[in-house]
């Protein structure tokens, strides 16, 4: 179909698996961190803010290298995980980790924007009506921020599918395992006569990204509608 080869489809599938897994794990964390940053008043808040945003300003290779040091078999976290029989480096799960870390600040920012748009006075009203903290979060805060959370999921998905530097550094390029679309494009360009493959994959990437942005835009519009009270 569309002149795509089985290898092309494998790259798309690997990208989707890597990105979906990354977002599934990162999104709840991003919501929690965004809530802490938007509503929390605690010492070390500035530090958390800086730490969360670091992947945005660091070269992706540095992030991938940092992950290697932390999660490598000899690393402090990686060594502990190895005891449990879990290995992340050079695996599909590792690719998700690298992509998820890179997309994390983007997701936190998107969620936080919608949390800031959610009127905290409504939470006071909910409190006066008898809602306890967790109840308030799930009945008022999260639904009000839901369009932003969905938008964060979509942009996070797109960012994870597009991540290159951190993924190739931490998870390497293993076709069918860690070779996502950008890695496949890069590999094709390294191959003599691979330009046609690279072009096909580039268009595929573009289609996926455009679809994600369209969905994100629709959801952002709903956030604005809801905040007009």
């Amino acid at each position: 179909m569309l002149g795509l080869t089985p290898q092309d489809w494998t790259a798309v599938l690997v990208s989707l698996v890597v990105a979906c897994r990354a977002v599934a794990v990162a999104l709840p964390l991003a919501v929690g961190v965004a809530w802490l940053l938007a509503r929390g008043r605690f010492p070390g808040r500035g530090l958390l803010d800086a730490l969360v945003h670091a992947p945005m300003v660091l070269p992706p290779v540095v992030v991938g290298f940092g992950l290697l040091l932390l999660f490598g078999v000899q690393g402090p976290v990686g060594g502990w995980l190895a005891h449990l029989g879990v290995r992340l480096v050079f695996t599909s799960a590792g690719a998700s980790l690298a992509a998820g870390v890179m997309a994390f600040p983007l997701m936190v920012r998107t969620v936080r924007l919608s949390l800031d748009a959610a009127d905290p006075r409504l939470e006071v009203a909910a409190r006066s009506l008898g809602a306890r903290p967790l109840d308030r979060f799930f009945s008022i805060t999260l639904p009000l921020a839901a369009p932003g959370v969905l938008a964060a999921a979509v942009t996070g998905l797109a960012a994870c599918m597009g991540e290159f530097g951190a993924v190739i550094t931490f998870a390497a390029d293993a076709p069918g395992e860690t070779e996502t679309l950008p890695l496949a494009i890069y590999a094709a360009l390294q191959t003599p006569g691979g330009e046609a493959t690279a072009t096909r994959l580039a268009f595929l990437s573009f289609a996926v990204a455009a679809a994600a942005l369209l969905v994100a835009d629709r959801l952002a519009r709903r956030v604005r509608l809801w905040s007009q009270t």
């Binding site: 409504l122 009203a125 409190r127 006066s128 009506l129 008898g130 306890r132 109840d135 905040s227 009270t229």
Partner: protein, 366 residues
Amino acid sequence: MLAVDITHRSGDFRLSASFAAGPGVTAVFGPSGAGKTTLLSLIAGALRPDAGRIVLGDEVWSDTASAAYLPMESRGVGWVFQDARLFPHMSIRDNLQYGARRSLGRKRVAELDDVVSVLALSGLLGRRPSGLSGGERQRVALGRALLTQPRLLLMDEPLAALDHARRLEAMPYLARLTEAFSIPTLYVTHSLSEVVRLADRIVVLDAGAVAAAGPVWEVAQSCPLINRRSDAAVRLDGVLAGVSQGYSLVRTAAGDLITAPMEAALGSSVRLVVLARDVMLATGERPANLSARNVLPAHITAMTGLGDGVVSVRLVLGRGAVLLSNVTQDAVQALSLDVGKAVYAVIKSAAVEGARPEGLMDLMDD
């Protein structure tokens, strides 16, 4: 019975308040910046007082001496905000039931069907807050607060978002609401006419301190923040006893009052407001041949000089009803007015303000 005795500081502002509020409507009255909303936030539990106690019945809500503090969500207050604060992602029905679902275990004071019919909300239930007018939103907010089965109702200038005419029309309706569900209510306002029409008791706040507290008729005479105002007044509750072409007859504790025609059903309860400046006094024989149709026997029970040669006279009439009359020092001397003296209170029919209980839902609809 709500008992408040607290001090609280935020920035340069210092609030120090001590008062008690029983059943019925207690107005919290004062100019902007007097600390009314801060007081309400402390009672609701949104703020913790720096020092003091807040107690409802036998339940301690806040006590700095014993470090007791009941969180807002456990107090069971129905808080009606100036801005309705409806939840935009829920239907009106879900907004109304939000508090009701979380009020299990409290004594039930309001049922959904009653609230919906009293507030005329049946047509709104399926809609979202974004499509509602200001008046409609405020009605939903009232209903939501009532359905939380509150032990105390806090109203923070609920009519402030409405324009003057609508506010006047809405007041008798609010009065009916507080009577129908008989929940102790604190009603914050800086409008004296709302106080007179709605409240039984009043707490006057000025610059963070309680300037006066007590029955409205008493404070209306004794508190300089109120008695010097041209709209100082008292309320007479009565029943519409007769309607004729040119007038209405209202039976009150002060006696039968003739008022301008009212569009209310015979036998319905009405609230009349009589301004102190509209009450004349006469001594000696009962005056006749007056255009003022109401001549009621009364006794003077108190007199307070207001300055500028004006004296506020408190009268007791009929079955213990109280009226205030502002007269000049000159008149006091000419008529030898003094405490204990029997007089006639003379009130023009046209000067009696009657509050109609019906016909305001349309106006609250914007």
